[in-house]
């Protein structure tokens, strides 16, 4: 496999939910090894849809999804998890009635080997979770719950991590902390693809950014390029 | 589309008619008419359930209770007054006690609202209820004893008004509507299966009250010999004009009298059924009906458009239950007796549901068709099952197994009804006559 092709790419994706109208129009999303890629754009631009398409949650009429050189377009989301994709949905992303530790165990459900090391790594990344491991996840604060959600997805030792608006509904302080944690996860070598509402902060930590408008790629570039792009700034970064 | 559906309806109704007419030829016209009369009543019950389920998606499994209330209405309206039952220390005191009980509950509810945020709200309301209960019992118990002591072998209850029994039909509807109002007020705001369990429970309690409150309708001592809205067979047989007419016609006067009585019932019931179908069709196609269906198809958006969903649901719940109560009063009229122990949920609630699902939920004609068809099957599965088992056991030696199998034929009907329900739900979920 050539070193230049991205680790995970959803290429020229066109499709929508079920038999409904197309939401994505030849949209391309990708993330390179060791990098953070973010998908940003105005409301209703199809950001989350694009990520779900990469994860196999909607039917593509055209385009393909390639993970580490393998075409996985035909695989179900469950099979993609087995192939090494970790996905954190935007809402309902933890088992609220179960303890933090049980949440992590369930994250590792498909693994038959000993996952205690992985759990220790997650606890190292998110120390607060270790303190609260016997508590029901539903009793935690919003930011802590998001850490549980990310930790759960990390338990499969994914080759790529996908986050759907991880900072939705948390306070600015918590948001900064979450971004710090995400950078730390990225430093462990896992490529991260995420959808973000808070475009400015997200682009600041991003290696690559995809600006979507109405299901199409409007701008693509490094985080810095996009932040500097007058068009992008004017249209949705607020000048 | 509508035309083909109309044709389909015509064909299916014709087929059901063939079943009934066939019964007349093969068994007897008496049997056929007996089944038809209960078929008519079943069709009305199915119509009532369909109003709730088909129009509003309300899952009412308390049909038995509403039917029994209709039966109670028949007793209270039509049975003979009991002399001395309405004395100051008897019937009137029972009524007083019941009013006091009602007032206690009303006071508790009002207090609960008024004392919002009060520290002792629970304690105050609970003490009102407890004191109210004991006062109620103190007034109620001696009055009940007085009434039940009056000629207990024959009456021992408050008796009826001695009015024509047809008047009991609307009264049955009103009684059922009242009960539905109470249930609806408490349970309609909750989730669908809670309503189911609430109605199931209320129906059981209504039956328990009928069984145990002897002062009301004699409990398990039953009320028999309720007056009829149609002539009695013996009177017809004693009527020279009738006997002559039948003999000229070439019929046996005894059989003819019984058929005449059943036909009279059938005509009365048909009038009610047709009137109800006409009314429900009118309602369904009125602006009110369109709103109801809009609510059913999308509750959220209807609520967003300012429709009062809960109030409409309450309306429909009351209407459907009233229809069941009406049918219940008609059934007790047909039986001329009220026997509380015969009320069983499988027969009076769940069988009606089989009728609605098989007939076609949301379609009034479908529910009526289901009523006729399933009732016919319910009656005929037993002899058919017996025939089947006779065939199976024909080669068997006489003995334990054969005897057991023959005895068991009676239970084939439950099995059959369950299978029909499951098969229709699976392979034709919208029923024989789907909603347009």
């Amino acid at each position: 496999m050539s070193e230049t092709s991205p680790f995970l790419i959803g290429e020229a994706m066109t499709g929508g939910y079920g038999k409904g109208a197309d939401i994505l129009h030849s949209c391309t999303i990708a993330v390179e090894r060791g990098e953070i890629a973010v998908i940003v754009g105005p409301n209703g631009a199809g950001k989350s849809t694009a990520m779900k398409a990469v994860f196999g949650m909607l039917s593509l009429r055209e385009g393909r999804v390639v993970l580490d050189g393998d075409d996985i377009t035909a695989l179900s989301p469950q099979d993609r998890v087995v192939r090494g994709m970790g996905f954190v949905p935007q809402t309902s992303n933890i088992f609220t009635s179960m303890t933090v530790e049980e949440n992590l165990e369930m994250g590792a459900y498909i693994r038959r080997d000993d996952f205690r090391d992985t759990m220790e790594q997650v606890y190292t990344l998110f120390p607060i979770l270790k303190d609260k491991r016997r508590q029901a996840a539903g009793e935690l604060s919003g930011g802590q719950r998001q850490q549980v959600a990310v930790g759960r997805a990390l338990m499969t030792k994914p080759k790529v991590l996908m986050l759907d608006e991880p900072t939705a509904g948390v306070s600015p302080i918590v948001m900064d902390e979450l971004f710090d944690r995400i950078i730390e996860v990225s430093r462990t070598g896992i490529p991260i693809l995420m959808v973000e509402q808070n475009a400015r902060q997200a682009l600041e930590i991003a290696d690559k950014g995809f600006v979507l408008v109405q299901g199409r790629n409007a701008h693509t570039g490094t985080g810095k390029e996009l932040l500097a792009n007058a068009d992008v700034r004017r249209s949705f970064l607020g000048g | 589309m509508n035309l083909t559906l109309d044709r389909k309806a015509a064909v299916l109704f014709a087929l059901v008619a063939v079943l009934y007419i066939g019964t007349g030829f093969v068994q007897s016209w008496n049997t056929a008419l007996s089944i038809l009369n209960m078929g008519l009543i079943s069709a009305i019950m199915a119509l009532g359930v369909n109003i709730q389920w088909g129009y509003a998606g309300l899952f009412n499994v308390g049909v038995m209770g509403f039917t029994a209330l209709g039966g109670l209405a028949a007793v209270l309206v039509a049975s003979d007054p009991v002399e001395g039952a309405w004395s100051a220390t008897g019937g009137w005191q029972i009524l007083l006690a019941l009013l006091m009980g009602g007032a206690t509950i009303a006071a508790a509810i009002t207090l609960w609202g008024k004392l919002q945020g009060h520290k002792l709200r629970g304690v105050i309301v609970a003490s009102v209820l407890i004191v109210g209960f004991f006062v109620f019992r103190a007034v109620f118990d001696p009055a009940v004893a007085t009434v039940e002591a009056i000629n207990p072998a024959l009456t021992g209850n408050i008796g009826g008004l001695g009015l024509p029994i047809i008047l009991a039909w609307p009264v049955g509807g009103v009684l059922a509507a009242g009960a539905a109002w109470i249930i609806g007020k408490t349970a309609l705001g909750l989730r669908s299966d809670y309503l189911a369990i609430a109605t199931l429970g209320v129906a059981e309690i209504i039956i328990y009250i009928l069984k145990n409150e002897d002062w009301l309708a004699r409990g398990v001592k039953n009320v028999i010999g309720l007056p009829r809205p149609v002539p009695y067979e013996v009177d017809l047989q004693a009527n020279a004009t009738f006997v002559d007419a039948m003999q000229n016609f070439g019929a046996d006067p005894v059989t003819a009298s019984s058929i005449t009585v059943k036909l009279s019932y059938a005509i009365l019931f048909s009038v009610v059924l047709i009137a109800l179908i006409w009314l429900t069709q009118r309602a369904l196609n009125s602006p009110w009906g369109r709103m109801i269906r809009a609510i059913r198809d999308n509750e959220t958006s209807a609520a967003a458009m300012g429709k009062n969903v809960t109030a409409r649901h309450l309306q429909i719940f009351i209407l459907g239950s009233a229809v069941c109560g009406l049918a219940g009063a008609m059934m007790t009229t047909l039986d001329s007796q009220l026997v509380p122990s015969t009320y069983q949920p499988l027969r009076f609630t769940f069988l009606i549901w089989v009728m609605v699902i098989v007939g076609g939920s949301g379609n009034n004609l479908g529910a009526v068709l289901g009523g006729f068809l399933i009732w016919w099957l319910w009656i005929q599965v037993e002899p058919l099952g017996l025939l089947l088992l006779q065939g199976i056991t024909a080669g068997m030696a006489e003995g334990w197994l054969k005897a057991h199998l023959m005895d068991a034929a009676a239970h084939m009907r439950l099995l059959t009804m369950g299978l029909i329900l499951l098969l229709v739900l699976r392979f034709s979920p919208r029923g024989l006559l789907p909603e347009r």
Binding site: S92, I110 | S192, F350, H411, R426
Partner: protein
Amino acid sequence: MDFLNAIIALLNFVIVPATAYGAQLALGALGVTLIYGILRFSNFAHGDTMAFGTMITILATWGLQSLGVTAGPLPTALIALPLGIAATAALAVGTDKLVYRFYRQTKAKPVIFVIASIGVMFVMNGIVRFVIGVGDQNFADGTRFLISARDFREVTGLDEGLAIRTTQAITVAVAILAVVALFWFLNKTRTGKSMRAFSDNEDLALLSGINPERVVFITWLIVAALATTAGVLYGLDKSFKPFTYFQLLLPIFAAAIVGGLGNPLGAILGGFLIAYSEIAVTYAFRKVVGYLGPEGWSPEGMLQLLSTDYKFAVSFTILLIVLLFKPTGIMKGKSV
């Protein structure tokens, strides 16, 4: 004032029978609540599932008895119970494959599942009546009393006797064993945790690679075991009659809802709450109060709040109160 005799009378007529009944209701409600948590519908066929399991156990008991096999002082039905459970499990899993799976695949609304369960109820009810008839069946054998009233009086010298029937003791012991095993399974094993995860958040469970069909399969196995055990214990304690089992549906539902649908701990709590209230409200307290009063005094009247015939009304009233004031139940349950 005779405090001791009052307590014994209360124990004998209220606490002991209510504890046994509560254990039976709790096991029944656990089944209902598990189905609600995993399959997300109220199973109207649960009472008849209990009846089916009990029927098989009774038939096996008769078979064992005719072979001369008994459990000595214990009821023979305990030996037959595993067979009843196995048959009920096969029936439940078969029913799921034939009926419910289709609606799962088509993502039907919960009320459609409920209607399907009514069809299943008819069929099971028909099967049970077909095989064993509608009559009462008494199948308890072995020693009748653990402590008989007369022995108790002789040993303690009290006026009031305390009788504990073997079946009551067994009911409580078996129920405790079953509940401990269930909670160990749900909280400590990987499969049990996956069931809880599925109940908590179906989509995320799928995302985590939990196989829904396997979860549903295991759920039916457990439900069959619980239902059969509950049914057999109830039958041993009282007697077996198909219609009574259908009627148990109401207090069982009440227990499950009062405790919080989908919450196993709540189901147990609900079961005992319903049982104690039913028996306490319909018990005539005359004797107990008589002992508490001065010597030779006895209260007028029976001191019975409601006639025993209204015991279902009690469970229903509790149900209504809980629904009105705390719709998710005492312990937090699910609401779909």
